[in-house]
Amino acid sequence: MELEKLRHGTELIKRGFAKMQKGGVIMDVTTPEQAKIAEDAGAVAVMALKSVPSDIRKAGGVARMADPEVTSAIIDTVTIPVMAKARIGHFVEAEILQSLGADMIDESEVLTPADNFYHIDKTEFTVPFVCGARNLGEALRRINEGAAMIRTKGEAGTGDVSEAVTHMKQIMGEIRELKGKNKEELIMVARDIEAPIELVLETAKMERLPVVNFAAGGVATPADAALMMRLGADGVFVGSGIFTAEKPEAMAKAIVEAVNNYDKPEVLAEVSKGIGSGMKGISVSSIPEDQVLQTRGW
């Protein structure tokens, strides 16, 4: 076998990577020490960023890609995959993250968008991307641009899971509505939701998104994580919920166990005991409209 004959960055490899994350918890971390805690707790991957979304929210200003030095240090510390966030449309930040060795890039509304019209052409990259979505049309547009994984947007940095619930139910509901429709009706749906026809047909046939679909944005407790799994998520991102909690290690471990036992209330009760208080949080309804993150992206 000659090494030149190896094919890198194919759709199968990108989507396959996302499939290996299924049933797992991906945790936001800002330091190598936090990354180690996440790995020891059983995270399937970590998301390296400059500060957790709740701190980004407090700080205001322009939020950008994390310092490459920190991202590299996190990559060197853990054996599990390391993901990192780039601004919407900022393909150069994404290229930098790919060159650092990030295993997946989150083109994220948590950071300040760099392009007011276009997302990154993700097909040009060797590494896979995950993107946020609030509805089926948004999810399929991102997949069409090359996203190998979708996550709900929720409302990041709030500790309020309600928006993630809304987005997950919206996407699942729209997929259920495709059932029983014939081709011309599906073409009409594609027009309505501004999504490519081929992807609408594929989704209807598979009765699910063609890529892995995680929950994200406001997940703060083991029960929140289990709720999202019950609603059909393939896995869960936890952002601010772990390292702004009173006992991050206990919270991280409890959320991992909750995802593995999401349909067992007695186990969820057990793992939720003695883990200290969760992040304080802020209810989404009290956030001024200009500080809402989920409306970023198009």
Partner: protein, 199 residues
């Protein structure tokens, strides 16, 4: 008969789906169960350890009490197939990456593995692979894949890339560094089922 698929995390539904299709090709219909908790492994006749994240899988297998059940089942001769992270779990020893996370290994094969033998995700690849038990090349998908770098005499090598062993068997245990569940080529699932059905 019953085939169990360890379902802690990772490419579980893909393996279940591939097994269902392979069984239907053979005209067999037997039960496939997914396993997240203890108590089910002893009631299975064969076992699949899917790919996922080996650190996570290893620690949850122990926390859930499944690890010891797999060891006992293997000792009784149950056919077991591990893919990617599953291959790591089957090994007796691992490289520094495996060591530093205090990875729980099942020690069912006398092999040493390198965890990300070919590199990170950007180095992940597809390749046409020669597998000794198949009569034509197999398109194999390697995702942050491990490889066997050292093995005892009774380990039978089925495929290699350079010096890395990427498919091997020892007794009742079959280990693949790649993901047969991600493609439509069912020949390796059929090879495993040949062992399960004793033909």
């Amino acid at each position: 008969m019953r085939i169990g698929v360890i379902a802690i995390q990772g490419a579980v539904s893909e393996h279940v789906n591939a097994l269902e299709r392979a069984l239907s090709e053979r005209g067999e219909s037997i039960e496939i169960v997914t396993i997240k908790h203890s108590g089910i492994v002893p009631e299975c006749d064969a076992l699949v350890l899917p790919g996922g994240e080996s650190t996570t899988l290893g620690s949850l297998l122990v926390r859930e009490g499944i690890a010891d059940e797999i060891k006992e089942a293997a000792a009784r001769g149950m056919p077991i197939m591990g893919t990617c992270a599953g291959l790591i779990l089957l090994a007796k020893e691992g490289d520094s990456q495996v060591e530093k996370t205090h990875q729980n290994l099942l020690s069912l094969m006398d092999v040493r593995v390198n965890r990300n033998a070919f590199g990170r995700q950007r180095e992940s690849f597809e390749a046409e692979l020669d597998v000794s038990v198949l009569d034509s090349p197999y398109n194999a998908v390697f995702i942050r894949a491990p490889a066997i770098v050292k093995f005892e005499d009774d380990v039978k090598v089925l495929s290699k890339i350079d010096e890395f062993v990427v498919a091997a068997e020892q007794g009742n245990v079959l280990a693949l560094a790649f993901h047969p569940e991600l493609t439509n080529d069912l020949r390796l699932h059929q090879y495993f089922l040949d062992r399960v059905f004793g033909r």
